[in-house]
Amino acid sequence: MNCARASLCLVALPALVSLGACGNMPAVLDPHGSNAQQTAQIAWVLFWGGGLIFVFVMALAAYAVFASPAHRAWLGRQNFVVGAGIVFPIVTLSALLFYTFKVSGELVGAKDAAPLKIEIVGEMWWWRVHYVDAGGASVLVTANEVHIPVGRTVELFLESADVLHSFWVPNLAGKLDLIPGRVNVLRVKADSAGVFRGQCAEYCGAQHAKMAFHVVAHAVPEFDAWLAAQQLPAAAPRTPTLERGMTLFIANCGACHTVRATPAAGQLGPDLTHVGSRLALAAGTLPNNVGTIAGWIAASQHIKPENRMPSFDRFTGEELRALAAYVESLQ
């Protein structure tokens, strides 16, 4: 996880000044999207401005206490208070205010002729993702991973199915809450390809800490290929083990999960038609391979207590391996 290295590097950070020296910045200051780019600029202005004002005030205070009475006489007068306390803040804050009005105007106003529309529904502790075409018809249903083309504005329609959540991909844009009964629109545009980790940023209960997701930015042709691949129905099982896995899947998992072109059509849980191709499992909790799938199936309540999926620990070793192999084969 790239944020692992970033945070480790944060520790070595003696002071803001030496940020440059550190190879990998915290996500907020490592923008890859137009939105985050401008916000990072503001962030730098604020850090430097705030830092300078702080040093200035501390110097004044030290001067007021330790300098010789003659030197600090000019400080001890009422119009210094008026000057520094009223005039200086009004001037600097007004400048800051108009600067940020200009920037936030650009951020919100950035319209794009044909944005890619994606609906994201926050669930208790995972993300349901619908790709919709211009008319609003559902093109693809997936979960916990949002693939977007580079250079094209993506409109994310955020709504919640239960409690408050907040969609936050620091590398691309600021956060926006998912509130039941309301649809918020977040515009995001990735400038460069890459995998960006996102995290739910509004406390939403027991597993708020394990409700992450990934945004994968591709070059346009790559994205179209990905979208086409994802729209295909599930791969049919090729070997007897996978066949056995599929029968087990339909019998035990079909009630909650959907795998297109199979009788499994449950809506409660995420769509697993192409789960094998996802980067992570259980909303960014585990890396995705046949081992972690088996571990998640058999002990999901141990890995993410109180989540909606029970632990299926009644399979024999053989059955569990066949089921996990089948799920992983849904590339």
């Binding site: 002990a299 141990h302 632990s311 620990d313 399979f315 024999t316 053989e318």
Partner: protein, 277 residues
Amino acid sequence: MMRTLVILSGLAVLAIAGTALFVYSGVYNVAATRQHTAPVYWILETAMRRSVLRRVQEIEVPPLTERATIERGLRLYHPNCVPCHGAPGIAPEGFGLAMMPVPANLALTAREWQPAEVYWVVKHGIKTSGMPAWEFRLADTDLWAIVAFVATLPTLSPQEYRDRARAIAPLVAADAAPPASGADRGDAERGKVALQQYACVACHVIPGVVGANKTVGPSLAGIASRKYLAGVIPNGPDNMIRWLRFPQQIAPQSAMPDLGVAERDARDMAMFLETLK
């Protein structure tokens, strides 16, 4: 008052330091070929006798004189006890002779020990003496049968013993395992002893059991919440009992041997393992 306290504690510290030095130096010879020094021998014997005496008060002895009981006692005594203790006119096996302390000649024991004491020793065995516990190998009635027979040993001449022994069909312990007593849920405390008796402590780390720190097989810490046994069958009370009794059926080449665990002992062990969350 303070002074005596200081002196006492000083002595205590000295004593502890002394024993620690003695133990670490390895001066005491534990070889089986060298008998204890007289005082140590006396201390061990007395400690053993007193320990057995303390624990037999509540045991009530059933009638031991019927012929059938004695007859069954002989059928059990001959294959199970003779290898170490011998019999009138019959020598023990080589390993029985090479043990320190040497297994007692039971004809003398029958004269000096009460039947309840003999029963206790046969049932629970004696630590570091080589005398095994038969509680998990023989039913209670069979234990009393052996005691009944041992009581008659002083009256048998070698010839009589040899004739009687030839006339009976020996009854080896394995097939005389105690029957399962009802479908009770199993008693964890007895399960803990069973873990000892079936030598699980020789291969596994078992939290809460002294001496169970061996890493031949996997650690049993947290076994109760583990999802699979041997990676094959899902964990649960009945699967655990099946796994304890017939591991080779479930995981054929596994290093876990079939220990011939009685159904009741398996249930007790499962109850204890249930507590290792």
